[in-house]
């Protein structure tokens, strides 16, 4: 087994808010191997974005307290000196953000925004950086890259802008690419193009990818592994097949039930879990026991309410990638009370 690109263990993020301290990420652990895609799934407010922003030190220090360990190619991102962290952003890890309409600076040309990234990490002269920028734009499929360099973001469509953002993220050939809801704001057809693009580039370069989304359709298409987040915790993880086809946690099942084409009859009964009712718990006031307890359709005894379920291996423990879930609800997905 090759060394993982990223190894996160027990990541915790606490934010200071006007309503008191908020525990947004509570002990998250996972690894990303080279060329592997890990999808992080969850509703908004589940802590998935914060967890990756914390990795690159992109949360404001006066608001966020981050603890745990995050080894990027063996180096701990969380204890790094600021200057070293700056050097890692780019060549170590690149990031693609949700909204291509706002993630580019509207008053600078695309070329400038690409070139400044390239030149921040190595002694490259302007002309060489410009050539490299044009090549990158070509690689991400922008027509007429040479001319696109002198354009401003508002002159491009959303899909084209997101390609530019990806080009920026890849401009220093990072070992890890983090895509935070990178296709959420785009049309479905454009979404598919962007996903294809990332898959293609990933295959060429062997980049590890963290793909954050709440869209399970995207997950099915792109991920090798899935990590389901709820209330700042990992409630279930495993291979795509395990999690999507044999979901163990009631929350995951709820999410899948919420998907129209996956809501197939189970034992001849159409599950009435059309959506997961309610909203995620506020991170300022998390439940004591199972985080999902207040919304859980199959919740049972007092244990669910008062005791936190650990992330336990389900099924074969011998598998290279174990399927784990944090729930007291041990019945199989087809079992009794669900539905």
């Amino acid at each position: 087994m090759t060394a993982p690109v990223l190894e996160v263990s027990d990541l915790r993020v606490r934010l200071r808010t006007p309503r008191g301290p908020a525990d947004v990420v509570n002990g998250l652990s996972y690894t990303v191997g080279p060329g592997e895609t890990v999808a992080v799934v969850g509703e908004s407010g589940s802590g998935k974005s914060v967890s990756v922003l914390a990795l690159l030190g992109l949360l404001p220090a006066r608001v966020a307290t981050v603890s745990g360990r995050a080894l990027l190619q063996g180096e701990d991102l969380l204890t790094m000196k600021p200057e070293r962290l700056r050097q890692v952003r780019g060549p170590g890890a690149g990031m693609v953000f949700q909204d291509p309409m706002t993630s580019l600076n509207p008053v600078l040309t695309i070329g400038r925004q690409l070139i400044e990234g390239i030149r921040a990490h190595g002694d490259v002269d302007k002309a060489a950086a410009r050539r490299r920028a044009a090549d990158l734009l070509g690689e991400v499929g922008l027509p007429d890259p040479e001319r696109a360099l002198d354009r401003y973001p508002h002159e491009l469509s959303g899909g084209m802008r997101q390609r530019v953002v990806i080009a920026i993220a890849l401009s220093n050939s990072p070992a890890l690419l983090i895509a935070d809801e990178a296709t959420t704001a785009l049309d479905v057809t454009v979404q598919a193009q962007i996903i294809d693009l990332v898959e293609k580039l990933q295959a060429e370069r062997g980049t590890g990818v963290i793909w954050i989304t709440h869209d399970l359709g995207v997950v099915a298409g792109i991920a090798d592994r899935v990590l389901v987040m709820y209330g700042g915790r990992c409630v279930e993880d495993g291979t795509v097949d395990d999690v999507l086809e044999r979901p163990a946690h009631p929350y995951t099942r709820g999410l899948l039930g919420a998907l129209p084409d996956l809501a197939e009859p189970v034992d001849g009964v159409v599950p009435d879990l059309a959506t997961v009712p309610g909203t995620p718990p506020p991170p300022t006031d998390l439940p004591k026991g199972c985080v999902f307890w207040p919304r859980c359709p199959v919740r049972g005894d007092a244990r669910c309410e008062h005791e936190q379920p650990p992330l336990a291996v389900i099924g074969s423990a011998a598998a290279t990638l174990p399927h784990r879930a944090a729930t007291w609800c041990t019945e199989g997905p087809e079992g009794g009370r669900a539905g």
Binding site: T17, G45, T279, P283
Partner: protein, 320 residues
């Protein structure tokens, strides 16, 4: 000019938004406001000023225009807390009575601006199209005119005096209220609950007064508090120029003007009325800021959102 409801598009109904937002909860608003120490202190001080203004005659140790030639230009002492002026009048009494004048003029001025300006903004924002164009173009013209000069011109037409000063200041602030109201109406015009009322055939008047106005109110309230600050300041300035309140009535601006000639020998003549203006204006401004923090949701979330990491669930979490 963009007469189309551009800004409204951004506030398109979100699927999770409740059908109709709760009316501003006054008790909660007040509670939040008083938790902000600066705003609480400002509110308390203003309450004091208002009390002083109401109780004026009873509080003042002497009549404001009681002339006592033997007691001319006395420095502050136990007998005359703020000293006396060139005619031997007690400055403390005059400052107290000046509070009544300042507040009355300020309230009238803001009242005029609020009623007329909000009405114009409401109509412009709600009906849009040519109504909007005509009204707002006119407001722009008024707004383009230098505020102090406009007030001076109005006073020149109407003659000096407290009432006309209030009118003059009120006219100056009409366009500001029109703009604020229009912007905030545009924000709620396309909300689900407004469209819902329209679809069940509610009259425009009913929609405007029951739905649009209450929900567009917070920025207007904030503007009113800040405008009160400027109105008190403007009244003082106009009286200082001799165009506002006329002697022998006590007005802070007028007292300042009268004290100007005695700066070297009797600083208290100008100092105390100036302090009174300054503190009153400061309190209105601080209160306005406090109100903005509490009432304006954009500002409220800004503190969290600026960090780029405000958990999206937390805001709704408390309301449910």
């Amino acid at each position: 000019m963009t007469s189309q409801p551009g800004p409204a598009a951004s506030s398109a109904p979100k699927p999770t938004a409740p059908l109709k937002p709760a009316r501003p909860r006054w008790r909660e608003t007040l509670g939040l406001l008083l938790r902000n120490p600066t705003a609480a202190v400002a509110a308390a001080l203003l309450l004091g000023v208002i009390l002083v203004a109401i109780l004026d005659e009873t509080l003042a140790p002497t009549g404001p225009n009681e002339i006592d030639v033997d007691e001319r230009l006395q420095p502050p002492s136990g007998e005359h807390l703020f000293g006396t002026d060139d005619l031997g009048r007690d400055i403390f009494s005059r400052v107290i009575l000046g509070a009544a004048v300042s507040l009355r003029v300020g309230l009238f001025a803001v009242g005029i601006a609020l009623v007329i300006g909000s009405a114009i903004g409401l109509l412009a924002g709600y009906y849009g199209r040519w109504v909007d164009d005509v009204l707002m173009r006119f407001m722009d013209m008024l707004f383009a005119f230098p505020a102090v000069l406009l007030a001076i011109a109005v006073l020149a037409v109407r003659g000096p005096g407290s009432g006309n000063t209030a009118l003059a200041i009120g006219i100056v602030y009409i366009p500001i209220f029109a703009r604020v109201t229009r912007a905030s109406v545009l924000g709620v015009r396309e909300e689900v609950y407004v469209r819902a009322s329209r679809s069940v055939g509610a009259s425009d008047f009913r929609i405007l007064t029951r739905h649009v106005l209450p929900n567009a109110a917070p920025p207007i309230i904030v503007q009113a508090s800040i405008s009160l600050a400027f109105a008190v300041l403007a009244e003082a300035a106009l009286s200082f120029l001799g165009l506002g309140t006329q002697p022998p009535n006590p007005s802070w601006g007028l007292m300042l003007a009268e004290g100007r000639g005695y700066l070297q020998i009797a600083w208290w003549l100008a100092f105390f009325p100036g302090m009174a203006i300054f503190l009153t204006v400061l309190c209105f401004n601080l209160l306005g800021d406090g109100l903005r923090d509490v009432l304006d949701p954009r500002q409220r979330t800004l503190m969290g959102a600026a960090s780029g990491a405000a958990p999206a669930g937390s805001e709704e979490g408390g309301d449910r």
